[in-house]
């Protein structure tokens, strides 16, 4: 079964953790994740500038490791990311901003990538809110 997973909440929201646990369980069950799409506040989950207290789970790091280790397509919505200050090298240079906080394995792209993922997946599962 092919899954497309969309995340609408930041890394500190319980729903971000729920999405990650679901994604892990999907792969463990032998299923495929065609794309992870991080939209709205979900773009914060891809920021490399998040500092999590030592006694808490570092969800942003766990997401990054999960995407890298499984060589998944982790797409961050470019419009949502720019308005929240989540920039990769190209965008920081384009808008002359002093910091870059989006690196591999993440990729900035448009909403069309979500549409495309929905077309090629059997199921779209969205996570967001609390």
């Amino acid at each position: 079964m092919k899954f497309a997973i969309a995340l609408y909440s930041a890394a500190h929201a319980p729903s971000s953790r729920r999405a990650l646990r679901f994604a892990e369980a999907a792969l463990a069950g032998g299923h495929e994740i065609v794309r992870l799409f991080f939209y709205q506040d979900g773009v914060h989950s891809a920021s490399s500038n998040i500092v999590t207290p030592q006694d808490e789970q570092d969800l942003a790091q766990q997401w990054s490791t999960f995407v890298s280790n499984n060589q998944l397509d982790g797409v961050v919505c470019i419009a949502a990311a720019l308005r929240r200050g989540v920039l990769n090298n190209d965008e920081a240079a384009r808008y002359q901003r002093p910091a870059v906080n989006l690196q591999a394995p993440w990729e900035l792209s448009g909403l069309g990538q979500l549409h495309d993922a929905i077309q090629s997946a059997d199921r779209l599962i969205c996570f967001g809110g609390p």
Partner: protein, 92 residues
């Protein structure tokens, strides 16, 4: 076409659950996670004749016992449910 409705907001903070129940189809089911599991504590019997699942970890975190008419599930079962139902609708 059957739908699995996923809720994570507390039933005491907004009207998502009420709206969801209003459109719930015959073959549809509810999956309660996060604070939505508090809906299992309500005295009313609005959920008892529905197909209701709840994430076990969220029940444990809130010390809520799963009633007989609901089913506590883990993440692999969540994945299975998302396949069993034709669509998954998250009430974001």
């Amino acid at each position: 076409m059957s739908t699995l409705h996923v809720l994570s907001h507390s039933p005491f903070s907004d009207t998502r659950l009420d709206s969801c129940l209003r459109i719930l189809g015959r073959g549809d089911a509810l999956l309660l996670c996060g604070d939505a599991v508090y809906a299992l504590q309500q005295q009313s019997s609005t959920l008892e004749d529905k197909t209701v699942f709840a994430l076990e970890e969220d029940l444990q975190a809130r010390n809520i016992e799963c009633p007989q008419w609901a089913v506590a599930i883990d993440y692999p079962a969540f994945v299975d449910l998302s396949i069993q139902y034709d669509k998954v609708n998250s009430w974001l």
